[in-house]
């Protein structure tokens, strides 16, 4: 338990730093952004208490907000994503006693299920995030293009990240 707390603490800091220092400055085709830090929410073990999950999600979003001058935006999106994590997970996985405390990854869910789960999470995040940010400023087509492009970009990067560091 202590070991995994330590690992997730490092993951939190590392993902926030990577996001703030590198990925915030990469915008492909002027519309695709990568929100790699949601990998933290995606991969938190399922036996984490709901209140703790929400708190960690909110803090993650708030930290990213502080570093990218978007007050409230990522905090809101991360909180919503944290709340939707369990329903999305069980949309693709059976309720199973053996899988009660796993951390979602290719290694624990199988590639296909994890790919579906991850894609849904990325899409949900981008939908909440972009609709909140651009509500007053852009037309719907523009927002949808940004959501689509960013979902794919985020999805691919996290899938690659998972195949590198994800484990049982």
């Amino acid at each position: 338990m202590n070991k995994s707390v330590f690992i997730f603490a490092i993951l939190f800091v590392a993902l926030v730093l990577v996001q703030a220092l590198i990925l915030n400055h990469i915008v492909l085709f002027n519309c695709a952004m990568c929100f790699v830090f949601i990998y933290f929410i995606v991969s938190l073990p399922l036996d984490v208490k709901p209140n703790l999950l929400l708190t960690l999600s909110f803090l993650l979003g708030l930290t990213v907000d502080m570093l990218s001058d978007t007050p409230g935006l990522n905090a809101l999106s991360c909180t919503v994503l944290g709340a939707l994590k369990r329903p999305v997970f069980f949309a693709y996985e059976q309720h199973d006693d053996q899988k009660r405390d796993i951390s979602p990854a290719t290694a624990t869910m199988g590639f296909l299920n994890f790919a579906k789960y991850l894609f849904t999470m990325s899409a949900l995040y981008c939908i909440v995030c972009f609709f909140t940010e651009y509500m007053n400023f852009a037309d719907v087509i523009d927002i949808l293009i940004r959501i689509g492009a960013s979902t794919v970009f985020t999805y691919i990067v996290i899938l690659a990240l998972d195949s590198l560091i994800g484990k049982k």
Binding site: L17, A20, L21, N24, H25, V27, N30, M33, P50, N51, L54, T55, S57, F58, G61, D65, M66, L67, S68, D69, T70, P71, G72, L73, A75, L76, T79, V80, A83, T132, E133, Y134, F137, A138, D142
Partner: protein, 275 residues
Amino acid sequence: MRNLLNFLIKYSTWFVFAFYVLISCILLVNTSKTHLSVYLSSANAIGGTIYRTSSEITDYFGLLAVNKRLQESNARLENEVLNLRNQLKQYDVLASDSSDYGRYRRFGYIGASVINNSTSHPLNYFTIDRGSTDGIEPGMGVVDQSGVVGIVDVTGKRTSRVISLLNQNQHFSAKIKSTPYVGSLTWKGSDPRVAYLEEVPRHAKYHIGDTITTSGFSTTFPEGIDIGTVMGNIKTNDDTFIVLKIRLMPDFKQLGTVRIINDILKNELDSISGS
């Protein structure tokens, strides 16, 4: 009482969720410059340190381009100094007994480096490595070697957050160079190279390629700092005003060194216009 407690515990997840969503929404809506905003911006101690450290490392990669731009700007300034010196010589007699002489020193400049920058949001900000201890105050204008880039928003001790010109909530007073026609410059999102000059009188004369400069009507920027060039006008239904499309001069994706403008007369002018 026990029922209430049971109820709270049973539905605690919902309360926690609602609480965090509420906080996020307050932060989203609350754009005023509260005391709290210093801690929640990239100008706070942690963000400042992180960006300062990273820019100390990555700055080296851009030195060649920065150096080239500085040399160009230096050459231009040297020419200008020579020209102005020649002009000044002609006015020497007048200037020596003119009480107006002091106004040539109205604006001071403070140099700074951009340590974090964004161009992809509708509301963009960037962070500089100077703060209140260096004399930076909210409301000061920020320029780079090619022109206007923003206005200081929040100041931390050693870092400050600047509202970029690429921010849809920020308007700049600008005019067509060497004419009296003034308009309001705004950015409309998407392209970081293009902005729009609104509320220009319909009878204003302009040509494609004309320079747009600051109007000098505020204490933020002196008159005549370059902003961009006219690309053309946009069709509107308004009979009295036209909108001009402007190509911005600074390259916002490559902001390196900037200068913050300190208006020595700011307090005086503000107190006059405020009374």
